[in-house]
């Protein structure tokens, strides 16, 4: 079985994989304008060239603490992706690598039929297990976050 190309990133300390096919670009997010009342995962809006991206913080979905409010506004690294015609920037701590991974099945303990349905499998990184994320489901979950 031939593996596929993935982007290795770190979100709230967790190592994650994004399918390279679904990543539009890797961006440095500038000033973020807040969108009060929106889903809790929405940090705000940022301009990426002439397009407006919705900046998402998915740490809560991964079970780690959210970034503190003041730090969120500063922007930072993000993975840009288009879901249903809307542009999203998923905030990450850092981007580490692009390489080919063969995904294994997610561990049995993870509820991939329910709350963790955005995890499609796992990849073996350097001395750690990386979670492969499905951006479409991730964005849907993030949009519904209260």
């Amino acid at each position: 079985m031939i593996g596929s190309l993935h982007l290795v990133a770190r979100i709230g300390g967790c190592g994650v994989l994004f399918d390279a096919e679904r990543v539009d670009s890797v961006v440095e997010v500038g000033a973020v304008v807040p969108a009060p009342g929106a889903s809790a995962a929405v940090i705000g809006l940022a301009a990426m060239r002439s397009r407006v991206a919705t900046v998402l913080d998915v740490r809560a979905l991964l079970g780690v603490a959210r970034c503190p409010e003041e730090k969120r506004r500063e922007g930072g690294r993000a993975v840009a992706t288009i879901v249903d015609g809307h542009l999203y920037a998923i905030a990450v701590d850092s981007l580490e690598d692009v390489s080919t991974f063969q995904l294994g099945a997610a561990p049995a303990g993870l509820d991939t039929a329910g709350d963790w349905d955005f995890v499609t499998g796992i990849g073996e990184g350097q001395h750690e297990t990386l979670l492969a994320l499905d951006v479409d489901r991730l964005v849907v979950r993030a949009s519904a976050l209260v």
Binding site: A38, S39, R49, V52, H86
Partner: protein
């Protein structure tokens, strides 16, 4: 009109291309319903467009084909091969004609009548179909067309390409702004001049590119006045068209998709909705129908309302009609609620009308309209007010629009509010408004009106808001409220795009915008805010009705024969009439107007010279008539509530009213009648039953001429000499009644003036 024609040609050409596969498929299997429907839609759309583009030959062809196809759809005809080839011959011919129109050439109409005849002949004589060899324009003609001067050329582009072009230009604008900021620090005049030039051409480019993608909604509405007028004229109706909200710019794609549905709906409204003039008066409405087309933005939707004040939809007839065609659905139809019954209008092949008119054919394919709107991702909804009219609302998603927006600060962030929904912005410390805390919320007192106040910070559970510095008075259809603001920046025309679902969840945003400074802005949805804040607007509605009731008294301002401007309550004036020279004469100690073979007393109080009178106000009250001579009628004005009483309580001047700063005398019509010589007592004619108002409107002059006084009800102590009633109500009249018939040809048909006078005179004798 040229633009419309070009669009029509391009569109027809494109549809024909797409349709050719369907046509072949239908030829192979004439019973294929889906293909039949799409061919029907095509000819139907052609027919619709031809009507107002004035292309009678195309209209004739498409109307004939539509008739035949409708019969097939309705199950009245079987699509045999002869019919199929006749239809195909017509579609070929339509294609040839369209090419000829585009080339600006004429195509001889040889055989068109034959093609149409072939449709009718098809079931009987299969061999008789005139073979149609489409006369394709030869190479020479094509070359000539290409060389024609002034021929407006157009190409079709994919929307995707345009979008990329647009975002490319927007990128360029942002890059220019950045560059400009840096270059200004260098302070080199030569660089600045160069930048200025670049800047101008970038702006120009942006305008042009925006134009390729966006169009004012006006473009959608520009054909409607003519369409409404022509449709109404061909049916002998009259209509006023009111258009609002044409200045919003919309996605061109959306405008194209909405064009046909809108034309259909407007035409439907005129044809099926609005009643004939006489029926309208009978129903107590103004003789001229009103059609309003209103575009507005609400939330992330653009809504176009088409409101008529016609008869509405008779759902009973709709159900009966379907039941007649499809008796098997009786049980299902019985179970429908009113709304579901109304939605039956969207069923394919349905005609809400029994006769077919040249204008809209059969109930004008509301199924076609619905399909088109839904194709645009939109929705169509109806509000039926039986006897009062129908509102059709087209809702399409706001995919892309340019709105005039006010940029404001609130809840620590910058937002945009649509200019359209803001009445005014007031500064709180200016003293014009007062903000009071009431319970957990606040109200604003502005010029005596109390409005609920909404603070975004409170609404979104953020930090308790500081007292607002500004208030935007937001006006919605349901009512008005004040939106608390921390600051107001400026007004900008901005492109609005849909925001992501994660953001729209807040329920208070309509979309997102990106101004030239490169920082995104969220556009607030004012009705969403009102809903989220739980505002109810009952109070505002009560006030509206109160205002409407108080508006009732209007007065006619006129120039009297003595050169004074005076007023008279307009309800007292029956009509303003031009009279022939010599019609007013001083005779028998009084002044008289001779009209329709009768004499009407003329008010001579202002020293009128009888022979010079050319215009009179005809006054009527309680069966008495009077003509008040004037120089000219000027206008109708609302009568102020405060009148200064007149010095002479017995004069004909009721008092003084101040209109636009000028004190004017108000003529008292009762005093005028009081001064008249008492008319001889006339026998009473009672207008009995539910049609009394109609009879009074139409028959009163005739009845009076026959020597009666007209009443709608008998006062105690009075006795009617005769009553008039519509046939079925005659038996309930208190006195013997003359029966009016609704049907022409029956004895005493209600519009037969001569017969009515004769009958009344006979009764009197």
């Amino acid at each position: 009109m040229d633009d419309l024609l070009q669009e029509f040609i391009a569109e027809t050409r494109e549809t024909l291309e797409a349709l050719s596969g369907e046509i072949v498929g239908w030829e192979a299997d004439p019973s294929d319903r889906a293909r039949l429907d799409s061919i029907f839609r095509f000819v139907h759309t052609i027919k619709g467009s031809c009507g107002f583009l004035d292309l009678p030959r195309l209209a004739r062809l498409s109307h004939a084909a539509e008739d035949a196809l409708a019969a097939v759809r309705g199950g009245d005809r079987v699509p045999d091969s002869a019919l199929v080839s006749a239809i195909l011959a017509i579609i070929d011919r339509i294609g040839d004609l369209v090419e000829a129109i585009d080339a600006g050439e004429s195509l001889d109409d040889g055989g068109e009548a034959l093609l149409i005849a072939a449709l009718d002949a098809a079931p009987a004589a299969t061999g008789a179909v005139a073979p149609s060899t489409p006369a394709l324009p030869d190479a020479a003609a094509l070359a000539a067309a290409a060389q024609r001067p002034g021929h407006k050329r157009s190409v079709r582009l994919s929307v995707d390409l345009l979008d990329r072009m647009m975002s490319g230009v927007s990128d360029m604008v942002l890059a220019r702004n950045q560059l400009a900021r840096h270059l200004r620090q260098i302070e080199d005049p030569r660089l600045e001049a160069m930048l200025e030039r670049l800047s101008l051409s970038v702006d120009e480019l942006r305008d042009t590119v925006t134009r390729t993608r966006m169009q004012r909604v006006e473009a959608l509405f520009s054909a409607l006045p003519r369409l409404a007028r022509d449709s109404a004229a061909s049916l002998g109706k009259s209509v006023t068209l009111v258009i609002e909200g044409g200045d919003v710019e919309l996605d061109r794609e959306m405008i194209e998709l909405l064009r046909d549905p809108l034309v259909h709906i407007v035409r439907n409204a005129v044809d099926h909705g609005l009643e004939d003039r006489a029926d309208r008066i009978l129903a107590g409405k103004p003789g001229t129908g009103e059609l309003r087309v209103v575009a507005r933005q609400a939330g992330n939707l653009i809504i176009i309302d088409i409101v008529d004040d016609g008869r509405g939809v008779d759902t009973d007839r709709l159900v009966a009609k379907i039941l007649r065609d499809q008796p098997s659905r009786a049980a299902e139809l019985r179970g429908l609620d009113e709304e579901a019954r109304l939605r039956l209008i969207f069923e394919p092949g349905l005609s809400s009308r029994d006769e077919v008119t040249a204008l809209s054919g059969r109930g004008v394919g509301m199924d076609v309209v619905k399909a088109n709107v839904e194709q645009a991702g939109g929705r169509i909804s109806l509000v039926n007010r039986p006897g009062q009219g129908l509102t059709v609302s087209l809702e399409v998603p706001l995919t892309l629009a340019i709105l005039n927006a006010v940029l404001v600060d609130a809840a620590g962030t910058r937002f945009a509010v649509p200019r359209q929904s803001v009445d005014e912005i007031v500064a709180v410390d200016g003293g014009a408004v007062r903000v009071d805390r009431v319970g957990t919320g606040s109200v604003v007192l502005l010029r005596g009106q109390r409005l609920p106040m909404v603070a975004l910070g409170d609404l979104l559970d953020r930090a308790p808001a500081e007292p607002p510095r500004y208030l935007a008075i937001v006006s919605l259809r349901e009512g008005r409220f004040a939106l608390a603001l921390d600051g107001v920046r400026d007004t900008q025309e901005l492109v609005v795009k849909p925001a992501a679902p994660a953001v729209m969840r807040a329920g208070i945003y309509a979309g997102q915008m990106l101004p030239d400074d490169g920082l995104p802005i969220l556009l607030l949805d004012c009705s969403g805010i009102a809903a989220k804040a739980g505002l109810t607007f009952e109070q505002a509605q009560v006030q509206v009705t109160a205002v409407a009731a108080a508006e009732a008294v209007r007065a006619l301002l006129f120039l009297d024969v003595d050169g004074e401007r005076r007023l008279i309550v307009s309800d007292a004036v029956d009509r303003i009439e031009k009279v022939a020279a010599g019609a007013v004469r001083a005779l028998a100690g009084g002044t008289w107007l001779t009209v329709d073979g009768r004499s009407v007393p003329v008010w001579a109080g202002q020293g009128v010279v009888a022979e010079t009178v050319r215009t009179v106000l005809r006054l009527q009250a309680d069966g008495l008539e009077l003509a008040y001579p004037v120089e000219e009628a000027i206008e109708i004005v609302p009568l102020p509530n405060d009148l200064a009483p007149a010095a002479d309580p017995h004069g004909v001047i009721a008092g003084l009213a101040v209109i636009a700063g000028e004190p004017l005398e108000l003529v008292d019509p009762l005093a005028l009648f009081g001064a008249l010589p008492v008319a001889t007592e006339r026998p009473l004619c009672l207008l009995h039953g539910s049609e009394g108002a109609w009879m009074e409107a139409f028959l009163k002059p005739t009845i009076e001429q026959a020597g009666y006084k007209v009443v709608r009800a008998i006062a105690p102590g009075q006795r009617a000499a005769v009553a008039l009633a519509i046939d079925e109500e005659a038996d309930s009249a208190p006195t013997p009644a003359l029966r009016l018939s609704r049907t022409r040809g029956q004895p005493l048909y209600r519009y037969d003036r001569g017969a009515l006078i004769a009958a009344l005179k006979e009764h009197r004798a």
